[in-house]
């Protein structure tokens, strides 16, 4: 019995401390170093912040370069697919143009009428515009890790991006900034488990919290009243109750899935987001 225990200890010691021919550090030293790094990172010491920021910038730039072959493959397949669908799209777009031209005439009439009515009522639209921050950024990497759904963008604190700012894709909210470095930032997507925003449902006074589910585009509505039943094709807007996001930003829409269940999906598709707009929350079209 003592012999087997000795063998066990020898095997463990050998695994931890033995150095190979090309090995400079023992496993024990590196495990210890990892634990120290974790503790230092967690303690958020002032020394660690610039170190982490520089490391993030360096790695993100390297990732942007190393992911180029993968991106090229995706780009090529998209171009090929687009080529085959352009003809049909062109036909339907031409029909749409004719329809939209007719609508445009109606719109301009309504616009003028609206302007005149506002003048009479002394209302104005020009609020907050000067204070708004509006930064256009390119997505350098979209992460779908099992732990965090996020995007990396090519603008950071150099371009006055701050933690907590909101990110939009095609006029729809996709997430918030959770990490800023000098040259890059990380956007936490709405679909992430950690994302929670106050919302209001279209054609109702119902307030709720929209949370990420971790799935591709699906979201969950928390804190709904017991009797409330969500209908399909309802748009979900930000309620602005957090005091940061402007009210009325379209975030998600309800759909009927194949099983005839009402599910909620983001309006913007984070997978398709190549260019995003970062604002301080007061987003105007």
């Amino acid at each position: 019995m003592p012999d087997s225990r000795d063998d066990f200890i020898i095997a463990i010691r050998y695994a931890l401390l033995k150095k190979g021919v090309k090995q400079k550090f023992s496993l024990f030293f590196l495990i210890l170093l990892s634990i120290i790094i974790i503790i230092l990172d967690r303690s958020s010491l002032s020394v660690m912040l610039p170190v982490r920021s520089v490391l993030n910038d360096l790695v993100y730039q390297a990732v942007a370069i190393s992911s180029l072959p993968g991106k090229s493959v995706r780009y090529l397949s998209q171009v090929t697919h687009q080529h085959f669908t352009t003809y049909n799209q062109n036909k339907s777009l031409q029909e749409e143009i004719i329809k939209l031209k007719n609508d445009q005439f109606n719109d301009s009439f309504l616009k003028t009428e609206n302007k005149n009515l506002k003048k009479i009522l002394s209302l104005t639209n020009d609020r907050f515009l000067e204070e708004d921050i509006f930064i256009t950024a390119k997505v350098i990497l979209d992460q779908e890790s099992p732990y965090l759904k996020s995007l990396l963008i090519n603008k950071g604190s150099k371009y006055k991006i701050l933690k907590g700012m909101t990110a939009f894709s095609e006029n729809a909210l996709i997430g918030t900034i959770v990490e800023t470095n000098y040259l890059t930032s990380r956007v936490l997507l709405l679909t992430d488990l950690n994302s929670k925003i106050p919302v209001i449902i279209q054609n109702s006074n119902i307030n709720a919290i929209l949370s990420g589910s971790g799935n591709k585009r699906e979201l969950i509505l928390d804190y709904l009243p017991d009797q409330f039943k969500l209908e399909p094709d309802q748009i979900i807007f930000t309620s602005g109750k957090d005091g940061y996001l402007a009210a009325g930003i379209p975030v998600a829409q309800s759909y009927l899935n194949k099983k005839n269940e009402v599910v909620i999906k983001t309006i913007a598709d984070p997978d398709q987001a190549l260019i995003i707009f970062v604002t301080n929350g007061q987003f105007h079209k």
């Binding site: 063998d7 550090f25 634990i35 993100y60 992911s67 959770v178």
Partner: protein, 171 residues
Amino acid sequence: MKIFYKIKEILFSYFPLILLYFLSFNSFELLKEFHNLIIFSFDLQMILIYFYVLKYPDELTPGHIFIAGIINDTVIGIPLGTSSLSYLVLSFFTSYIRNVTIRTKMLVEWATFIPALFLANFVYFIIINNFSNLSFYYFELLRNSFFTFLFFPIFYYLFNFLLKSNSKIKD
């Protein structure tokens, strides 16, 4: 022609390092290319580390495993050192298995991959839960671990085949 063989030899001899660093930079980016197969996502880094530490420890040293882990943490956005510690624990367990095993068989190595994977993921789980405010996708981690274990034999034979090709080139 000699230059071509030289390049091929260098690529083959540094294959585990190149693959490890490439995966650390691009692991999840690659999975995105195959959306329909995302359900079968698995951790190739774990398989790579387990295989090389078990069979050819001099080809993949702990220093490189540590750096690859740090890169992985930065890319994913989790506390620094999490992946490094998880990979190093996997390396430690694998070294222990190598020390106590006399005759090796694929089935035995496949079976011992279960506790190795469990231990590495357990360390990951503990750190994420205690050293970060992130929520955890438990089911995805479980699914990921299951497919990592399931696909091990395929990569076992693939890596063995590559190593044999490498030794033929050297000869």
